[in-house]
Symmetry: D3
Subunit: 175 residues, 6 copies
């Protein structure tokens, strides 16, 4: 059941991402949600582990009545070399024929590799922005309405606001 | 929906693995099938990519009437340092409480990290052995009855016998 | 002789760090001084090699009359994945039970792994700041009074001011 | 035929670099042009692959009538640890006795390893600046006169302006 | 001047490799000699550094009257993941259209990526075997007639027999 | 206090190693005991973590009345490229002038880098062999008399016999 690839870091997966998945499922028999930069966590850009992100996505899809049997959620670690990245994605994901992305670099890398790349319509682009959501978490602001309630429930169980507040303030032991 | 972790390389996922998944699902609300050594492929020990292995597992589960919504299939790349491997698995997988494995090293590594590790009953242990299945593929022998028919169909579509025959014969460009 | 862990990059180890070691030794039978980001050197953030940092620490402790037999000085290279970093520290260091740190990320990472984390009292926090010391070295300013005289002597023998001046000015061949 | 080492990222190789090669060939029997940061591409700092950079250099030298048999063009991937970088360069390049560089860090790293390091005279330093050339490419500006015509021809064949415009705008899938 | 790719580890480059290069140059305007596993040295399988191998190849080609301006000699480090290896080769090498190889794995990997792969006729296959040449070096046997005299001269200057004798006997510090 | 370098994997540190340290301390003001292959553990060749090995060495030296203030014990992770390994050792260790080793490869690598390398007299070479000690641990045999009693006490506290028995039997999750 070959499908469309939807790739992102999903830090975190919000309702805009959910709309994109619905859009792709309206066009394709299946969707592969590739969770990029999978090895990173506890940084301002990548606060959540791949496993936490998978959990958030599963809860959001399940809670929204999406048919999970049409969705593969696959962590893909960065390779650190853009020219090899498409091969890394292919290596980790079940077969796909088309790529859905609004990112220009994703577009040229996959096009250079011979793939069709289609945009996904933005759902309320000004509101659903992961960068802003991470900042709201760090400061305790109104991020809850931008995610699915079951994702919010999980994020509260791991005390995401405390984690974000800390990692946005300190460079951390690896620096 | 926290579940049990079932980890292996699944080169390839055979009917013995399927029985193990059924066993875990009889005990747990969900199973996380972690596809280890995810970055390797085209070697005698690891002939298939993580993506190909995910595809084989999805087809096998779907073809066997397993409820896919209770299963997460997660590629986990090796870290190359055993002492760090449990953290790598935790980092890539959604939350789990118990580990199912018959491998002694998996057992001590997860036990050192504070996890319960339970064995899975072997299903026809003399017959369902991935190492033997790979050898059979390389020589064209009777591997087809040891995998699910829809996995066999996929493996034939990627000409697995030719690949195995070649990689069992040659060290390859990386050596 | 299990002890307390004191972790930092120590670029360089100054008199504030020395006070922290004394504080830990007043509470614990032994201290493990873990030299983080051990593989890096010759950058603005990490000008000195792990070996040079070990030498500076040994000279400072010896010159201050600290009982060196109660101190382990252990380089710990970064792993690049925060979720695996505590396991890396454990893997490289002799056993420890408690962690001493004022860094929020160190605190949450070790707490998530089940460790007690205690702060160390800052010694003259406005004065003893490694970032400022590195800048002073680059511009020839008054860094000498902030380090132990035997550390200063060693740093002069490797011409630290010239190195800092250069690496603060140029991105270097690796960029 | 031992020669002089000329190391850079050559993103891209421009007429100032060409003059430097001519200068070195006036002093040495041969030149090794080491293409640093070889593994990176499709980023604002490193837009071109090592292979593309080798092609640009070969075309520039050939088009300028330089004796190619006196030139080795060698990609050298970064090691990520400055203290090991000189060994990495030595490991990848044919033997050399002298290093030509205007970069301060290259100078101290090679000097610490016992090499003579000589500066190369800048050719029109205000004009031939790779950073500026990359910006001009991104905005379609006047970069063509700063490179050799046969390099320009190649860069147009791979649509360098589109690539630069995109990668200067977006962080890319690896971030 | 797009050409044919000839890839190997060249440990060391012998007269059989030279004949293969001549064959490719009889069919193509240019040849790219990709020196694989470039980062390794001082092991039984890979005794010589990439730089030493480049030097041996340059001397052999020059000493045989081959037109060096038609040859690119490019070190390519292993990536450790076969599925990504073709992308790595493409990333490091100037453009090529056809691949010449007798290795089955090289053949399937490049064919999967859409390349034509042609065999090279073996020149005295029983005699020119790099594995045997390395063994002869370790025991002081008759390897000299199997390499070009100017390669032999260089290998003697770096005392290859001593190196091979030692590394064939001991596992080394990295094991 | 510059000293002599003594490098090994110390899996585990036995009474033969202790004699070597005593020998070096009879010749040098200080010794740097570099614990190589520091990142590995839980394998047949490298069963113990670097931290465990440091603990064993510290207990052995302390228990033998060695002046610990003359000893630095430094974990050094493998770099995977022999030609870079000496630089890695230098980068991680405090300054040293002479190297003590009986390993041929260590000898040529350090000699190529300009160091004096001296052998250490073997102490009962047939008896004190780490490879044999690991096998004895796996089978419960008489390894205890070959290590210092306080090292034995520690190794029993981490149940080394169980670990060795398991890792000698199974390839582990990383394979």
């Amino acid at each position: 059941m070959s499908g469309g690839l939807f790739i992102g870091r999903f830090q975190p997966f919000h309702l805009g991402h959910l709309e994109a998945v619905k859009f792709i499922l309206s066009k394709e028999p299946a969707v592969i949600i590739a969770v990029g930069s999978a090895q990173y966590s506890h940084t301002p850009e990548n606060p959540f582990t791949a496993g936490e992100r998978v959990e958030i996505i599963q809860r959001t899809l399940r809670g929204s009545g999406i048919d999970l049997t049409r969705c593969s959620i696959i962590p893909v670690p960065d390779i650190g070399e853009h020219r090899l990245w498409v091969s890394r994605v292919i290596s980790f994901c079940p077969p796909f024929k088309k790529v859905y992305s609004n990112n220009g670099l994703v577009k040229i890398l996959f096009e250079e590799a011979g793939f069709d790349v289609e945009p996904v319509p933005f759902f309320n682009r000004q509101v659903y922005v992961a960068t802003e959501i991470r900042k709201m978490m760090a400061t305790g602001g109104g991020w809850r309405t931008l995610l699915h309630p079951s994702a919010v429930e999980y994020l509260e169980s791991i005390d995401c606001e405390r984690r974000l507040a800390i990692i946005m303030k300190e460079a951390g032991p690896d620096r």
